[in-house]
């Protein structure tokens, strides 16, 4: 069983967290934008699936790291949340009743997402590091005398 494939799994994990981070950052950055004529920024979410290898549940002899499940972004979707209405009659984008339409971004949920993304990314990085150390030690095998 090759160990290089294990590094690819960690890289796939970090890739997914990167995509989630981009979506969360875009949502927070656009939270205060106003909509013109009813069109308002729609918060994004990242759809992640596990790609299962052919014989993921096999024995050690038939198994390689390539057959273990790895996460992949299968796309981004717009969250189906109603926009927020903020009363601001002086605003150029305000409607006839004085309300401005803003995206229905939940700032607390977005911040919690950021914590989860950061922790997941760090965990993948740590796993990558451990695998790399083990590979390095394996290369050094027998060189200690």
């Amino acid at each position: 069983m090759g160990m290089f494939g294990i590094l690819d799994i960690s890289a796939a994990g970090m890739d997914v967290q990167q995509a989630r981070l981009e979506a969360a950052a875009a949502n927070l950055a656009n939270a205060q934008t106003t909509g013109q004529g009813g069109a308002v920024y729609q918060p994004l979410t990242v759809i992640v699936h596990s790609i299962l290898g052919k014989n993921a549940l096999g024995s050690v002899d038939s198994l390689s790291a390539d057959s273990l499940p790895r996460p992949a972004v299968s796309g981004t979707a717009q969250l189906d949340v109603p926009p927020r209405l903020v009363y601001d009659p002086g605003h150029p984008d305000a409607d006839s009743r004085g309300f401005v339409t803003m995206p229905g971004v939940d700032p607390i949920a977005s911040m919690l997402d950021l914590i989860s993304i950061s922790r997941n990314y760090e965990a993948n990085l740590r796993a990558f590091d451990v695998t790399r150390t083990l590979m390095q030690r394996t290369l050094d095998m027998g060189n200690h005398r």
């Binding site: 994990g13 699936h49 596990s50 050690v60 996460p71 997941n120 394996t138």
Partner: protein
């Protein structure tokens, strides 16, 4: 394979290293897929025969009965998975060290116990 270094110790060590590498791969996959919907945590499981041999402290080939199976606890807990990974990484390095020491014994025999 019959060769100079084909001793039971080397065979068992290399099989055990295979299992330890598989465990690292499974921990990595669990961490990478943590939080993904419909992902079930995986773990390395051993055949009953290997379990019995381990309990009886017999020398057996550990990899002969190692399988990747779905874990009983389906969701990945990141902190627990990291702790298990650290533990298994130390085991892996213990095996490498055991391999080194076995080579050291062979070298001592080759040099008839003399230094250098």
């Amino acid at each position: 394979m019959s060769s100079l270094v084909s001793t039971p110790v080397f065979d068992v060590l290399s099989r055990a290293l295979d299992v330890a590498a598989l465990k690292q791969a499974v921990h990595t996959a669990n961490i990478a897929n943590a939080g993904v919907p419909n992902f079930h945590r995986l773990e390395v499981s051993f055949d009953a025969q290997v379990q019995r041999a381990a309990e009886a402290e017999e020398i057996s080939e550990p990899a002969s009965g190692a399988h990747v199976v779905r874990s009983a606890d389906d969701t990945v807990r990141l902190d627990k998975e990291m702790a298990l990974m650290a533990k298994d990484a130390v085991r892996y390095q213990t095996l490498l060290s055991a391999f080194d020491r076995t080579v050291g014994l062979l070298q001592m025999a080759i040099k008839e116990g003399r230094e250098g």
